[in-house]
Amino acid sequence: MKDAIGNVQRIVVLGGTSDIALATVVKLTQARPGVQVTLAARPSERRAAAAAALEARGMQVTEIDFEATDRTSYERAIASVFATGGDVDVVMLAFGLLGDQERAWQDVDAALALVQVNYAAAVACGVLVAARLRAQGHGAIIAISSVAGERPRRSNFVYGSTKAGMDAFYTGLGDALERDGVQVLVVRPGFVRTKMTAGLAAAPLSQAPEQVAEVIVAGLRAGRHTVWAPPAMRWVMSVLRHLPRPVFKRLPV
């Protein structure tokens, strides 16, 4: 149960090895040790390392298996999280695939893989989590979207289209859950230097996961529905969205 200051007691991360999610957990729990954190992800060394890093900061970490391409897996994972233990204050939806754009727009399997994880599983998990938080009468969902969903670009429009879909779903979910005491925060980061983008050339306004975490925690405490990271991205995207197509296409983005 969170408190009046914004201290949380229990956090669940779906996609528990996400750099942005882990930085957010650290930031969110900084003030007090002992917060319970569940990392739901594929069993891996990275998950174990993430758990160890959070434990070293005084958190009580539980690892559970979670596979976004497998409905039985994510249904079971979410059910087990809510079956025991205290109320969940925050669920972070942080799994996602960047994929290979050039394959993705020409190969059905590659396209469906992105759709399956970034959109279909994101929506399904949203449905499952929403029902539980409603029943609690309080809680928050942080959904990691992307500016790539705001205006499709030639360089990653398949990924962008899945994020546009999940972004729309979570934005609407926020409205649907408003009367149930549940906050949904949609996060639209620009380029973040993470494992997901390792090897890509950093775009302008690129940032570290910690900077995104900062924006997320501030938005959560202020009761926001959408945040951009860095915040200036909001205005950049607003301009980009309105650029005529011929101009937009020639931009190096």
């Binding site: 200051i5 029943a135 009367r179 149930d180 005491g181």
Partner: protein, 448 residues
């Protein structure tokens, strides 16, 4: 008449959504309790606890205020039976004309008898009369199994319910021993105190002479004037002590509401500058010393009630109240806490200092002998959480505790250290409510 809606405490922080059910008759409530779902049931009075004590996210919250009848009055014995949703305001309006005053009055009249029992509230007379539970002769408690038990102070469940924050059941009715008074006025002595030593010295020296005693400390005064304050103490006035003009209607009680705070206040209206200016004016306005002034009960006990919904002035982010008691002998802790608050300049109106007397037998009852300080703090400054966590450590180190009816942010780890009888309380509660039907956001947050 159920409605699902968000609820907060008086501090307007951290809402949760519950099914709010307006209390019907005993049989209907018994059915509600025995058919409770996984998220349980909780009684709510007038929502004057500051934090999440009267919230039950996802569950049922029973609004008790519909059950507010006075069932019997005996002016001879001063015993009064009421339904638990009756407010102290109502009791004063009805019973002062009969010469009966509530045995314990908090800083607002707008609390219910049920809320007063559940928080085992204290007033300015704690050093003499103890807390509210001591003046409860009997009560009817609707328990988790749907039965109604008549509890008296001989039973353990009685004392687990007094101060039990609604977690043992629904208090339906109570019989209270009121205080006989001759008038609805107080005879008040006011003194200005230059600093904390001056204040504590005066309180320790002759508080015992007064029925009621409280000090207002300017938390923004620093350095040599740290703890500068106004001490007000008094007695219920006899008819003879009243000026002639008041004697004929000595028991009249018609408090006026002067204003209602508007619903929209910007955040940050109260900042260090505005509060410091207010505090300065307030201190200067108080007489250096004035003896034997006649004040109405409303003015002496409930100055804030003159402005309805004043909690709105803290803006949309809300505020919290930090209240702790430390034992006598821990004056240095008290000084350090006031110092820490004044150093960081977290804007606060005035802090209230009381001297508590003997503790109550209630397992989770807050008052224990010592110095009790309470102050309001707006939510806002990022450093607030850390500051209050450090204050907790000071309070704990001195063997003190904080008040659950005010709390909205304690870490669960602090509770057992503050309330050594928590385990004993849990045993009684588990026996009465093995499945934890009665629960609240506060109970979940603190792992009660």
């Amino acid at each position: 008449m159920d409605s699902r809606r968000p609820l907060t405490g008086w501090g307007r922080t951290n809402p949760s959504v519950a099914t709010v059910h307006s209390a019907g008759d005993d049989a209907e409530l018994a059915r509600l309790v025995t058919e409770a779902g996984r998220r349980g049931v909780l009684a709510r009075g007038l929502g004057r606890s500051y934090g999440d004590a009267a919230q039950n996210g996802g569950g049922v919250v029973v609004d008790m205020t519909a059950r507010n009848r006075v069932l019997s009055v005996d002016t001879g014995t001063a015993l009064v039976s009421v339904e638990a949703g009756a407010s102290l305001d109502q009791l004063m309006r009805l019973l002062l004309p009969l010469g009966l005053f509530v045995p314990v009055s908090p800083g607002t009249r707008h609390v219910t008898v049920g809320g007063a029992i559940a928080a085992d509230i204290h007033g300015k007379n704690h050093h003499l009369d103890g807390s509210f539970g001591r003046h409860v002769v009997a009560m009817d408690l609707l328990c988790a199994d749907g039965t109604i038990r008549r509890l008296t102070p001989e039973s353990e469940l009685f004392w687990a319910t007094v101060g039990g924050m609604g977690l043992t059941g629904l208090v339906l009715r109570a019989t209270l021993r009121m205080k006989k008074v001759e008038s609805a006025y107080c005879l008040v002595d006011t003194e200005r105190c230059a600093d904390l030593d001056d204040l504590l010295g005066r309180m320790a020296a002759d508080d015992h002479r007064y029925t009621y005693s409280v000090a207002w400390i300017d938390c923004l005064a620093r350095g040599a004037s740290l703890g500068r304050s106004v001490l007000t103490r008094g007695w219920s006035a006899t008819v003879e002590q009243l000026p002639r003009t008041l004697r004929e209607h000595a028991l009249d009680f018609r408090p006026k509401q002067l204003a209602v705070a508007p619903s929209v206040f910007p955040s940050g209206l109260l900042n260090r500058a505005t509060v410091a200016a207010f505090n300065e004016a307030w201190y200067r306005k108080a007489p250096r010393e004035r003896r034997g002034e006649i004040q109405s009960i409303a003015r002496f006990f409930h100055p804030l009630d003159a402005v309805a919904q004043w909690n709105r002035i803290y803006g949309p982010r809300g505020f919290l109240q930090y209240q702790f008691v430390v034992p006598f002998g821990a004056e240095e802790t008290l000084r350090r806490c006031i110092q820490m608050l004044s150093d960081t300049g977290q804007a606060s109106f005035l802090a209230v200092l009381k001297r508590f007397g003997q503790p109550s037998p209630g397992h989770l009852s807050f008052p224990t002998s010592g110095w009790a300080l309470a102050l309001d703090v707006p939510i806002g400054a990022a450093s607030l959480g850390g500051l209050l966590d450090r204050l907790d450590e000071e309070v704990l180190a001195a063997g003190g505790r904080e008040y659950l009816a005010k709390d909205s942010r304690l870490p669960a780890s602090a509770i057992a250290r503050m309330y050594p009888r928590l385990d004993a309380w849990r045993v009684v509660r588990r026996a009465a409510d093995p499945h934890g039907v009665f629960t609240s956001d506060l109970a979940r947050r603190l792992g009660l």
